[in-house]
Amino acid sequence: MTTMTRSGTPAPRVPRQAPGRRRHPRRPVWEEPPTAPGQAVKGLSLTAVVLIILVPLYCVVLTSLSTPGAINRAGGLVLVPDGLTFDAYETMLSGGPIRRSLFVTLGITVVGTALSMIVSVLCAYGLSRSRSLGHRFLLLILVVTMFVNGGLIPTFLVVNELGGYGQYWSLILPTAVNVFNIIVLRAFFSGTAADLIDAARIDGAGEWHILGSIVLPTSRAVLAVITLFYAVGYWNTFFSVLLYLPTESEKWPLQYVLYQYVNLGATVPGQANSGFGTGAVQIAPLSLQMALVVLTLIPILLVFPFMQRHFAKGMLTGAIKG
């Protein structure tokens, strides 16, 4: 018969390990101690992976902090510190209506992610029962949209006809459903605790109850992943702003406001000979671009630890005995 325990396995755990072992408190007692060569190979490959990513990242951060002189001497991304300044960040964060756009972005991200998650989780669960009526047809409806789309102008016309031009919802609703995310959710939903669900149904539990008390609690990792996917998407909202809110600057989200500074150094036709060079803020465009990249990464790094918790190994201890 099927039972589920949420608090660990009945297998005995060694309550306190030898002091030398405390470096790996999570290593189960049945797992062999690591071998030296194995550890070395693992350590080396992980270090290599991290370095391959950190070195360019270091260049990016350094360039964002470099003076125009340093950047122009380097002729590109800066590799060696040569003159540091926070000008790029100051310009980006002080020049425009940053605070309002930050709230706009937070609002769009929270509302959008919540909406997307509700809609997606419901849809994924609704399709997760392999013998339910019409699920293949509905799935087909979803899948087709991954490969066919009407293009930019028809989409714009529809949103415009619905009165979305200039409205916040035009940044959320058209992109609220991501079929890839639904399919991933669905795969996990139909993968976890299927036998439990069968049992619950036989006991007469309703679908809402099963979803809320069995499926969601056992799917925390994938829910965290999909939430992150959606949240990142909304946080970076950019192109739909250009289409639907090009003129309503008080409704612009952060990424769009910041993006404008990236354009700052572009040759401004017709302006170059009429007064520039006096009182103009002299910041290398490249450092602004890199500062934008860094500013994009910071919220991700801030949110990540919260998500990371859901990936704890063995967190899900739904043991199914059969």
Partner: protein, 333 residues
């Protein structure tokens, strides 16, 4: 439950793979039920899908009417209703266009290279990360590896340029040591490798997180049981971890195959000038340059339809293949 882990045996894990057992059951009774009864039974489930379906109908299916422009000499100013209908002319032009076939060939080639060289990497990384026991170290590494996902393609290409370009670090080193130079960024012959390594650098770290989620869903008791049965580290990975992830791996593979005709639009657009359109044009850039770029919207739409149809066929084929091998794929067969 204590499975004996003989090679080739199916371990009983709580993974999608396991529920293939359902298929072997006798004919499910519901097939004999009328749809009316099934509707009453499943109406909650159907109801749950409606919000998502509704949004798709409005914001994706309605604009999809736009694809009829493939049969038009489409002019966005007069609209679809008043544009001139030209039947299959756009498709005839398309299939007679050597540039189109070149783009298709490049697409399939790049896709195949990426499938072989890129696809397994996030899985291997996920396994590697999963084997790190110290949670803090693991969190840091994971956070670092997925940062490049948030870099724009322009930035990624710039970074590669500064490392491997004709004036980059690698070539300056070669010059300093009197060796011949190799401009990786403008070499059409190795372009597929370049593009793939850029994808690996940018997205491998991001790609692992779905697999990590799959790893957390594996029942820890199975490892213990396997260990008790004397299975070593590698055998546990082979017989517990991989089967546990198999459902997700196959699903990702099926989706990847369905998307085989979409390879890095922006990435290739940026680097097209360096290696030339012969090496860099894929279906998406082709539609962009020769369709939208020259206001030949109907032509671009025709290329788009072609791509959609082939993609759906690929997806269907990949899924059918998955079913043949007893996997769920997109849905259970």
């Amino acid at each position: 439950m204590a499975s004996t882990l003989a090679p080739g045996d199916e371990p009983g894990v709580t993974s999608p793979a396991r529920r293939r057992g359902h298929r072997r059951r006798p004919v499910p009774p519901e097939n004999r039920l009328t749809w009316r009864i099934r509707l009453r039974r499943d109406r909650t489930l159907i109801l749950m899908t409606l919000p998502a379906i509704g949004l798709l109908v409005v914001f994706t299916y309605l604009p999809m009417l736009g694809i009829v422009t493939a049969f038009q000499f489409y002019d966005p100013l007069v609209g679809i209703a008043d544009s001139e209908w030209i039947g299959l002319e756009n498709f005839e032009r398309l299939f007679g266009d050597p540039l189109f076939w070149g783009a298709l060939e490049n697409t399939l080639y790049l896709s195949a290279v990426q499938l072989v060289l890129y696809f397994p990497i996030p899985i291997m990384l996920a396994l590697l990360l999963n084997s790190v026991l110290n949670e803090r170290v693991r969190a840091v590494i994971q956070a670092v590896t997925f940062l490049p996902h948030f870099f724009s393609w322009v930035l990624v290409v710039t970074i590669f340029q500064q490392m491997f370009g004709g004036a980059g670090l690698l070539n300056q080193f070669l010059r300093d040591h009197g060796m011949g130079t190799w401009d990786l960024m403008t070499d059409p012959d190795t372009f597929a490798l370049l593009v793939t390594s850029q994808v690996v650098w940018k997205d491998a770290g991001w790609g692992i997180i779905v697999f990590l989620a799959a790893l957390t869903a594996i029942n820890q008791n199975l490892y213990e049981a396997a260990a008790v049965d004397g299975a070593g580290r590698w055998r546990r990975m082979w017989h517990v971890t991989l089967p546990g992830m198999r459902g997700i791996i196959v699903l990702m593979l099926v989706l990847r195959l369905g998307n085989a005709l979409s390879v890095g639009f922006e990435q290739l657009l940026i680097q097209r000038a360096g290696v030339g359109h012969d090496a860099a044009d894929v279906l998406d850039t082709f539609a962009y340059y020769y369709g939208i770029g020259t206001q030949d919207y109907g032509y671009g739409a025709a290329a788009g339809i072609f791509k959609s149809v082939i993609s759906l066929l690929l997806l269907w084929g990949a899924n059918a293949l998955a079913h043949r091998f007893g996997e769920d794929g997109l849905y259970r067969s």
